[in-house]
């Protein structure tokens, strides 16, 4: 077994522990961020600070720029101006997606994206927080610890049954869960979660809420969601985006009673 646990034999196989300097408590600095598409301003001088270990809810009208914000943080979209820092030392705007991911920023997409031709198991394996280089990948075997981790995750997302099923054959909701599972397997510092409970039943929603709350502390979690009940159940701080900038920030109660927020987002009866 020790031969198979190669990550203990060769140093280059040991996952790099990335240092994120959070000496000021803040793990994510977003300042004056602007993004435009063909002249349309999706983000407009946005300022946002996320503390280390926080669980932050991000709400806002459809098209307010929440997904775009995540795109910028994860390196998918280039911004026009502004800065995005991960801790004190990592300027995210200079990095490519893969590097950002390896810094420990994980992301769940709005539309669930999983590797359809892989089994649920393989999906999780690929997500594991291991060395992502080429040579390690050629020789990598699952270590016992990793197996355990996968089983754990499998348990959490409730897909043990589907373990060997191709991910492409899962239903929409199952894919959502799998993607969350992949996030968990990767054990990132910062989780960006775009609409996790869309298409989930009430109970599942509850479970997700529990899960996210339990994650906070060890991990920093940013959740985008439109399901107010869900938000209410997990929220400590809520940030409301509108037309690319922050409209309001505060506790759920504050936000809920904010006139502007009611006008542009919540509607009267919420």
């Amino acid at each position: 077994m020790s031969i198979l646990q190669r990550d203990q034999v060769w140093p280059f196989l040991v996952p790099r522990e990335v240092k994120v300097d959070v000496s000021h408590q803040v793990i994510l600095y977003i300042e004056d961020l602007s993004v435009s598409f063909d002249g349309f301003k999706a983000l407009n001088n946005l300022n946002l600070y996320i503390n280390d270990g926080e669980l932050r809810c991000l709400i806002g009208a459809n098209g307010a720029g929440k997904t775009t914000l995540m795109d910028v943080i994860t390196g998918k979209t280039r911004c026009d101006s502004g800065s995005v820092w991960f801790g004190q030392t990592h300027n995210l705007l200079e990095k490519r997606e893969a590097d950002i991911a390896r810094l420990g920023i994980g992301r769940k997409f709005q539309k669930p994206t999983v590797f359809e031709a892989h089994t649920v198991l393989d999906n999780l394996e690929l997500a594991l927080n291991t060395h992502k280089g080429i040579l390690p990948a050629l020789v990598a075997r699952l270590s016992a610890g990793q197996r355990e981790r996968i089983d754990e995750v499998m348990e959490i997302i409730g897909l043990q049954q589907q373990r060997h099923m191709l991910a492409g054959a899962l239903s929409h909701g199952q894919k959502q869960w799998l993607e969350i599972g992949m996030l968990l397997a990767a054990e990132p510092r910062l989780l960006l979660i775009d609409e996790p409970v869309a298409g989930m039943t009430a109970q599942e929603t509850e479970r997700t809420a529990e899960l996210l709350t339990s994650l906070a502390g060890h991990h920093t979690v940013v959740v985008v969601e439109h399901d107010m009940e869900f938000v209410r159940s997990i929220a400590r701080t809520v940030t409301v985006l509108h037309q690319g900038s922050v409209l309001a920030e505060g506790s759920m109660d504050e936000v809920q009673n904010n006139r502007d927020v009611i006008d542009v987002y919540l509607g009267e009866s919420a």
Partner: protein, 231 residues
């Protein structure tokens, strides 16, 4: 009005629908509910003709649909709002809406104003690519697009997924209005109980590819919910 009899369906060798019987009357608003993966979407796709049924019959006003191709079903008056919106991403909002014009009975050449009344955002976004819109905007576009063909039945597959609360509200209002004022028959797949209760008149609970309970919405008891919707 819409009648499904013993509909079964397979993906390859795995059977998804197991003899679904469903009866939806004119002007009703039927809400289909069930856990993830029980086959709701599959059922709607069969209804729309996007998936072939393995056996069984589907009729609209006694007109058999199950042996017609999808493109013949829309003119028969079925509007479809799929799960995941399925906007034509590279067409502009306007073009997305225009697609359905030719099959309208009145052969209108213009997008009915009504759509923009219901969804004012669309009017602002007329010349942007459908794919660029945010999720919620796309959802509104998808409903608008289905309404362009002036359907007599509107099929909605989780229309509120990812929609901001006030719009959810609004969509609910729209569905109610269409259903009550215009007499549009609505088939709705919905996970959120609150919404389902608000707009639905009947419910049909699905489990493992079968309809296991159907009744008026008022009769949707906690017991039933626990039995069929809880995890």
């Amino acid at each position: 009005m819409i009648e499904l009899r013993q509909v079964t369906q397979h993906y390859g060798s795995s059977q998804i629908l197991w003899g679904v019987d469903l009866n939806i009357t004119q002007g009703s608003c039927a809400c289909i509910m069930g856990r993830n993966g029980v086959g709701k979407t599959t059922l709607l796709k069969c209804l729309m003709g996007l998936l072939p049924v393995s056996s069984g019959e589907i009729r609209i006003n006694d007109y058999p649909l199950h042996n017609r191709p999808a493109e013949k079903r829309a003119p028969a008056g079925i509007g479809y709002v799929p799960q995941g919106r399925e906007i034509f991403p590279l067409l502009t909002v306007e073009e997305n809406l225009r697609i359905g014009l030719p099959i309208r009975k009145d052969k209108r050449k213009h997008i009915p104003e009504r759509i923009f009344e219901l969804f004012p955002v669309l009017a602002d976004m007329l010349h942007r690519r459908g794919g660029d819109l945010s999720g919620g905007q796309q959802q509104q576009l998808a409903i608008g697009r289905a309404l362009v063909i002036e359907p007599s039945v509107l099929i909605l597959d989780e229309p509120n997924e990812g929609i901001q609360p006030n719009i959810v509200q609004q969509i609910g209002d729209v569905i109610l209005r269409l259903n009550e004022e215009d007499g549009l028959t609505v088939i709705l797949v919905e996970q959120k109980l609150g919404f389902a209760r608000r707009v639905g008149k009947q419910f049909h609970l699905m489990e493992k590819g079968r309809i296991v309970a159907s009744d008026h919405m008022e009769n949707l008891s906690d017991e039933l919910i626990r039995q069929h919707l809880a995890v």
